[in-house]
Symmetry: C2
Subunit: 215 residues, 2 copies
Amino acid sequence: MNTIRVVVFDDSNSIREAISLLIDSNPAFSLIGSYADATCCIEVLEADPPDVVLMDIDMPEVTGIEAVQKIHSHFSSLPIIMLTVFDNQDKVFESLCAGAVGYLLKNTPPARLLEAILEVYEGGAPMTPSIARKVMQHFQRNESLPKKEEYHLSPREKEVLTHLVNGLSYKMIAGQMGITYETVRTHSKKIYDKLHVSSMTEAVVKTINQKLLGF
Amino acid sequence: MNTIRVVVFDDSNSIREAISLLIDSNPAFSLIGSYADATCCIEVLEADPPDVVLMDIDMPEVTGIEAVQKIHSHFSSLPIIMLTVFDNQDKVFESLCAGAVGYLLKNTPPARLLEAILEVYEGGAPMTPSIARKVMQHFQRNESLPKKEEYHLSPREKEVLTHLVNGLSYKMIAGQMGITYETVRTHSKKIYDKLHVSSMTEAVVKTINQKLLGF
DNA sequence: ATGCGTATCCCCCGATTGCGGGATTGTTAT
DNA sequence: ATAACAATCCCGCAATCGGGGGATACGCAT
């Protein structure tokens, strides 16, 4: 069986050494590169493509997140595991958005790290439990806020609002809906009234942010 | 040490029995309830609150997802693990949005199930690796589309645009930014020009939909 | 039948916006 | 140093928007 080829980016010498020892101690893995910064990450990976990348999140010159973006856009299927000392909420999500598939704290036990490498290699997404929970909570926020307020818009008003959200003017909406400009205005007035706003823009922003319409 | 109190909702008798055996075989856990449907889930949980809920996703009468919504809105801190036979993409996300914190396939080995119950109890979010990967990929889609177009807005223009997106009028923005109404208009003109739109609303919609600003 | 909500149309008027210019002061880049 | 750009301000004018009315007509409930 082939070994899993790993590359590490981390500005800390001691961490790189520790990881180097860890990986080479297990015949199933081999460390094919280890770098203190990610400035040349694309070139490095191009020259000798690994199976998995370990990326420190805080690095000088090019930050881990920037590096992930670059790597992900060049080698979209190459899995990257982020390593970090703090499980900062924002950094987690920035990394995930940038293209990382795993997120581990540096105090992860060595055995777990090897397990994680194997896991991404097999299509998983290793995370510490606390980070996994943060990710889950991120989904819940989306759906828990919007239903707190209910503005009972009539069907016709929703229709007008949809067009407003698409950026149409009253005149254009009138044309689209086959009604008069004045009617569109009347609907809009009631919409603004019900949404407690006083301009088209405010209505549109509120509609989008609170997902008042089905999209 | 107290045992972790578990309740199960699953319409399959065999699964309920298997879980019952599994949980009672380990002194660290105790099964305090086991129901074939979730119609009375709120009453049940209110009468005898558990630490963790296991919820089958496909059930007659009330679906697992509906049950999760109800439970989550009544007992928002009660962790729920979904159990399912298929890792259907949509169901996963519906469940997560509804308030579940864990998501396991029914072929999960018994030991892993107990581990997962412990994990949610301790604030984690157990998932099978394949589901974890799906969740991760969900984040990546968001950021991969928007960078297809780049409108090189100046810093000042971005600032004005931010205020527009917050629903402010030119006059209000002028006040906020300490510049003249006329200057705000000039910036806005250039913004509309660069975004290829011709109204405040269109600019706002485009900005939000394409995530042109950092939010 | 009387009221309530919805949908439709109309008018007036002031405020705001969009578009066409033009102008000055910096900074940056070639 | 000359051009290019960003940021600031100004004017005029037409179009659009927002708020205030009022009006008709339909359906639906009590």
